[in-house]
Amino acid sequence: MNILIVGAGKVGRKLARDMIERGHKVKLVDKDELVCEKIEKKGDLEVICGDGCDPLVLELAGIKIADIVVAVTKDDEDNLVIAQLAKLQPNKPKVVSVVNHPKNEWLFNKKWGIDASLSQTSILTDLIEQQIPDINENN
């Protein structure tokens, strides 16, 4: 499968390597030149340096042949915009995204072109809440 990952932070890079190991074709996009340079030096990943919210950059990165677009930037508005642009493509790739701020969770759904999303903060909150009864019992 062709996977396009926007946001080459820790999550994006790790994901890219895992997906390549599983035999997928992966391209990364990041707007931070320093991040892109580092990746290029290492030489194991293909990265396009540019703003992932720019339709031209996404096209250059092969969004038109992508099966899955993964939006893992630090900005929720960027992730949302990437999803909108992905769903405007004729190939309608699946979109997976992270939610940085739990307040924005209400927007990360099918209506907004997002097929699956993950909010770390919410998961942590749930986990903590699950632990509270145990803590209370122990006291």
Partner: protein, 221 residues
């Protein structure tokens, strides 16, 4: 009308001032409380500090009853996300987003959002001022792709039909004023001396129009 504006920068504050002066009920949202200093003293709308896509903030601005919504911050992405929220989640009838990047503006039009691209509009306007000083545009449509121009018919057009003046996709006569009365001409309406035409012209066809009518443009020759 109840109108919500996101971003109290130069354009946002000016828009808010104008609408408030015109008697509309305006709520303006900005992250920076200092930005509200740009509003006139007479501005009597609501000033709200917060993010343009925060549900609570939008609801406190009365988005559920809003008639119009304009996203005018400095960030293209922020504007498009706020505008889409207004459209998709709250079904606000009129939604406008300011988008600096002209390429993105075209793409976002596909999402049914009216976009204003000051970059493209400004560039078109400046080009027009430099190159077509003699053209008197009444109205500029979209981002300046189409101009509505008033022209008195040149002397040598007398006796032609209005249908002959139209160039499909480029120039079209949309109305004629003759002796103070306006009408929509038929293809076989005859051109009379002193007629004033209102033309709809694609901006790239303006040089062609100038050629066509021998530069006698201005409406009040």
């Amino acid at each position: 009308m109840h109108i919500i504006i996101i971003g109290c920068g130069r354009v946002g504050s000016q828009t808010a001032n104008l609408l408030s002066e015109a008697g509309h009920d305006v709520s303006i949202i900005d992250l920076d409380p200092k930005s509200f200093r740009r509003l006139n003293k007479s501005f009597n709308g609501k000033k709200i500090i917060g993010f343009g896509y925060d549900k609570e903030v939008l609801e406190s601005a009365g988005i559920e009853e809003a008639d119009a919504f304009a996203a005018l911050t400095h960030g293209d992405n922020r504007n498009i996300v706020s505008a889409l929220i207004a459209k998709r989640e709250y079904r606000v009838p009129i939604v406008i987003a300011r988008i600096y990047d002209p390429v993105r503006a075209i793409v976002y039009n596909q999402l049914n959002i009216t976009t204003i691209s000051p970059t493209r509009w400004g560039a078109n306007k400046i080009k027009e001022l430099i190159c077509q000083k003699d053209i008197n545009s009444q109205l500029s449509l979209g981002n300046g792709e189409v101009e509505i121009i008033e022209v008195e018919v040149p002397y040598n057009f007398k006796g032609l039909t209005y249908g002959k003046i139209n160039v499909p996709g480029e120039i079209m006569v949309i109305a004629v004023t003759r002796l103070g009365r306006a009408f929509v001409p038929l293809a076989d309406s005859i051109v009379k001396e002193g007629d004033i035409m209102l033309l709809s012209v694609a901006s790239e066809s303006i040089p062609k129009l100038k050629d066509f009518i021998g530069l006698k443009v201005g409406g009040n020759l």
